[in-house]
């Protein structure tokens, strides 16, 4: 789960990392109050779970109350790269002397944790890495060793912090690591980690986290009270929430063929087969969703899955692809009939069974004699049929 900036800075603060004063606001009235409280000039920053918001016009400086209101009225209704803005952060504007980049992340390849730093912060670290690879330093934190202030100090000195900033950077690095570990994060990124203060007064200078990105491990939610405090103020997709209530993995997409299968890999493969068939047939039909019924699903689970998918108005046909391992195709067939009976199904359902109890499952479907059920022998044929039927249904409604 990715956090919003206002949530990420809260976690950093809790771990002793300085951030500018800031208040989260969701309407222009709240923004005006927050801006008065923070003082001027202040920065109005869109809260979205996606990068490059600055270039998209999601970050604006306000020198007075009127400007804060006008800016927030522009930003609040924005969708940035397809993500709805959940609110704005009204933050103190800082006099920036220098910008660093610092992150700790899970490294899938080396199976440990990566510390990435550069003295050229403020922009995308990938960009810096491409143009000045020598400017980006990378170190590993071993999955078994802990990390202490001495290690942090050594690391800060070797990853490009200027001499005067090393002590502070070491403390920040250590606190970031504690934040990473305590929160079961997979990414804690501060960009920029800014040096702020009066350029002529050395004692006023300090390092401050001006923006932060944190991703948390969903699998660890059970030891953090389900991350309840980081609940997203944007209402989730109704189909996704209904599926989640039933313990199903569901992702809503934009096409017309509802895809259901057992096992994440097989469902992804089924989505690809639908997209390929849409391309081959030249009708642009695409998958409407990803839905994994998991291993050993019961008839009830299958019935519920089908009813979620068919209740989606964008779905023109459904494609059920099951390779019975632990899952029994017979249970899946009973589930399909259960849903078909309750829903008075009018949308076509294309089914492909193989493996455990496939013959029995197909016999049950055949006996039902429902004209909306179409059985195909292979995954490719079934995907092609589901696409053809979806295209025809879409055409007929025009």
């Amino acid at each position: 789960m990715d956090l919003y900036e206002y949530q990420a800075r809260q976690l950093l603060e809790e771990h002793g990392i300085a951030t500018p004063r800031a208040i989260f606001a969701q309407n222009s009235h709240e923004v005006a109050q927050a801006a008065d409280d923070i003082g001027y000039p202040c920065v109005i920053k869109a809260q979205v779970k996606i990068g490059h918001r600055g270039q998209a016009g999601g970050v604006k400086l306000a020198k007075d109350r009127d400007e804060a209101i006008v800016n927030s009225e522009q930003i609040l209704p924005m969708s940035i790269h397809g993500h709805k803005t959940s609110g704005v952060l009204v933050a103190e504007a800082k006099n920036i002397l220098h910008e660093y980049y610092l992150s700790i992340s899970l490294d899938r390849a080396s199976r440990d944790f990566d510390v990435l730093a550069t003295a050229n912060g403020g922009t995308e670290v990938e960009q810096v890495a491409k143009e000045h690879p020598e400017a980006v330093k990378r170190l590993h934190i071993d999955a078994l060793e802990d990390f202490d202030l001495a290690a942090a100090h050594k690391m800060a000195a070797s990853i490009g912090f200027y001499h005067a900033d090393v002590d502070q950077a070491a403390t920040i690095l250590l606190n970031m690591w504690r934040c990473f570990k305590d929160s079961d994060a997979t990414l804690v990124e501060i960009n920029p980690l800014a040096k702020i203060g009066d350029p002529d007064d050395e004692s006023s200078k300090s390092l401050c986290a001006l923006d932060a990105k944190i991703s948390l491990d969903d699998n660890a939610a059970f030891r953090h009270d389900g991350w309840k405090r980081f609940v997203d103020p944007i209402l989730p997709d109704p189909f996704e929430s209904r599926a989640r209530q039933h313990g199903l993995h569901y992702v809503h997409l934009r096409g017309e063929v509802g895809v259901i299968g057992n096992g994440a890999g097989l469902v992804m493969s089924s989505l690809d087969a639908v997209s390929d068939a849409g391309e081959d047939q030249g009708n642009g039909i695409k998958p409407a969703n990803f839905l994994d019924i998991g291993g050993g699903a019961s008839a009830e689970t299958m019935g519920e899955s089908l009813s979620i998918v068919l209740s989606d108005p964008q779905v023109e046909s459904a494609f059920v692809n099951v390779y019975g391992g632990i899952t029994s195709c017979e249970q899946v067939a009973r589930g399909i009939l259960l849903a078909a009976k309750d829903l008075v199904v009018t949308k076509p359902i294309v089914i492909r069974f193989d493996g455990n109890a496939a013959a029995e499952g197909l016999r049950i479907l055949d006996e039902a004699g429902n004209p909306n059920l179409h059985v195909r022998a292979s995954m490719e044929e079934a995907a092609a049929t589901a696409v053809t039927l979806a295209a025809a249904a879409k055409e007929a409604r025009r």
Binding site: D2, V251, G265, S275, F290, I326
Partner: protein
């Protein structure tokens, strides 16, 4: 030469007395896997009766308090873990500390920090973890009489012995590919798991297949997320004498959405199926568009080799 596990290795099941553990222990036993013990501290000293094949009665499998006791009493040197995610770290640590050589973790939903810790500890002790979040390992009975073993949830009866190796990030796609190539057969099928960190990577599985004389070619099934497919491909082109054919799932996956598996996510434009396919093809590994086409490519390669 053995693949991942020596023949006749006695196996314990951690979480055997749970619902999943019971179901799959029964299956593994029927498949001929020498399961000798279960582990559950609250049920130590009891035993569970499992049916034997052909209605030949039942077999009592004793339950021990811990892996060390189970290993000492039975000589077990492999474990299959079915415990819930919140107990998985302790279960893995217990098996590692007992010096069990092969630990297969089926459990889905383990915090990645727990996995990272256990995997690193296991690597240092020369212990192999397979998984987590995987269907496990199946080795096939060999014509010379060497028995195979089934450690996990891969269904019996799809395939028999043959010259292929199969390594996959996904469970059902493993079964699908086994089905596609059932007429040719496999030496071993291994699901390495769909989590961001796994105990045995695609590359490490390829290393084992390369070292096995009976395996003549390998099918590799990958999916979106991370770089494991590219790393495995780079290693294969430099070190493998055997052909590898690949399939990648998830071309239609949108950015930033987790597609079922914890590790199956495209983030910051990285880990796309397209990038993996292009990388594999650039280093000379053929990638099928569907599981069926992938199987066909493998057939063509085997036919070509037979003609030469």
């Amino acid at each position: 030469m053995s693949l991942f596990i020596a023949p006749h290795t006695p196996v314990i099941v951690q979480g055997m007395t749970g619902r999943q553990g019971m179901t799959h222990t029964a299956r593994m036993l029927l498949a001929g896997t020498p399961i000798v013990a279960g582990v559950n501290p609250r049920k130590a000293g009891t035993s569970v009766a499992f049916p034997l094949a052909d209605e030949a009665g039942t077999i009592d499998i004793p339950v021990f308090a811990g892996c060390a006791q189970a290993k000492q009493a039975t000589g077990a040197n492999a474990s299959v873990i079915f415990v819930p995610p919140s107990f998985a770290k302790d279960a893995m640590l217990e098996a590692i500390e007992a010096g069990i050589a092969l630990i297969v973790v089926i459990t889905e939903g383990i915090p990645v920090a727990d996995t990272a810790y256990c995997v690193e500890l296991a690597l240092r002790k020369g212990i192999r973890i397979i998984g987590p979040n995987c269907p496990g390992l199946m080795t096939l009975d060999r014509p010379d009489g060497q028995p195979g073993a089934n450690l996990g949830i891969i269904p019996e009866g799809i395939v028999g012995y043959g010259p292929l190796g199969l390594v996959s990030k996904s469970g059902t796609l493993t079964y699908q590919m086994m089905g596609e190539l059932s007429d040719i057969g496999f030496t071993a099928c291994i699901g390495v798991g769909g989590d961001p960190i796994v105990g045995t990577t695609l590359q490490e599985a390829l290393e084992v297949f390369e070292a096995d004389d009976a395996t003549k070619a390998v099918v590799m099934i990958g999916e979106i997320g991370g770089n494991a497919e590219q790393d495995a491909a780079d290693w294969a082109t430099q070190h493998m004498t055997k052909p590898v054919v690949a399939y990648i799932a998830g071309f239609t996956a949108p950015e930033g959405k987790q597609m079922g598996h914890a590790g199956a996510i495209v983030s910051g434009g990285k880990g796309t199926a397209q990038a993996k396919k292009e990388h594999l093809e650039a280093v000379g590994i053929k990638v099928g568009r569907t599981p069926g086409q992938t199987a066909q490519i493998m057939r063509d390669i085997l036919d070509g080799a037979a003609r030469r």
